[in-house]
Symmetry: C2
Subunit: 148 residues, 2 copies
């Protein structure tokens, strides 16, 4: 009986090891990529978080702060502080309507958006150029599956 059943504990042990290795890889890739992104963005004097906000606002036009928070998967408290700095730098403006504040890009913000976003996105994407098109598709499919 025992000989015929698959080595369950062993298999789950190996699976645990695999899962852990994946986690550490992802963690390193993410943090490395973030660091390089930060370096690359220095030419426009903005941070990765600021870039993400600008890209969303630029792409969607008028957004409330809560909507922006949802798109970026961060808290509204974070958005308040992020926007304070972007407003100070003259890149975005806030307009209150009823109890909602709508955010949009200023002229300077649009200029930065047009200049920085395409190049930065190209840079971001190029970090995966060790993979060919087929491999990228595979990777994306696997990543999607993780989030069921």
């Amino acid at each position: 009986m025992a000989e015929q059943s698959p080595p369950e504990t062993d298999r789950s042990g190996r699976d645990k090891r695999l899962g852990l290795l994946i986690w550490y890889r992802i963690s390193r890739i993410y943090n490395q990529s973030l660091k390089e992104t930060g370096r690359h963005l220095k030419q426009w004097s903005i941070s990765p978080a600021q870039f993400d906000a600008l890209a969303q606002i630029g792409a969607h036009g008028r957004l409330s702060q809560q909507q922006l928070a949802d798109k970026l998967f961060v808290t509204k408290g974070n958005i308040t502080q992020l926007l304070s700095k972007l407003e100070e730098s003259g890149l975005v403006k806030r307009e209150q309507q009823w109890k909602t504040k709508y955010i949009s890009l200023t002229e300077a913000g649009k200029e930065l958006f047009d200049g920085a976003v395409p190049e930065q996105e190209w840079f971001q994407a190029s970090q995966f150029d060790a993979l060919d098109r087929e491999e990228k598709k595979q990777l994306l499919a696997l990543l999607k599956k993780i989030q069921h």
Copy 2:
């Protein structure tokens, strides 16, 4: 001539989009996983960063601060602060030898290590259980390739 050459600009455009989608996925998976990890670790009143440090120290025994920093891919300044808290909590101790400080777990640290590490690693790994063994291997191989 034109008809026979592959649509280069188009292809690289699609590749850029794929690369970007991968980046956003990885970013979301990482941040989600980190948040859930934090929630799970609350039962031992430690943070993900503290857990990682304890796991390394527990696994490797005596380590200098610089060695620990290298293993965790963070700065030594960060380690100084991380260890201050772990020392305060009585989980690790530092012993100076020559100009190097060697870190090791206290009894309380070892106890926490034995209790928390296996369970936490299991939890961590289980976040990828939507993938079967073969898919995990594939994913890991692709991730490795990214870092060439």
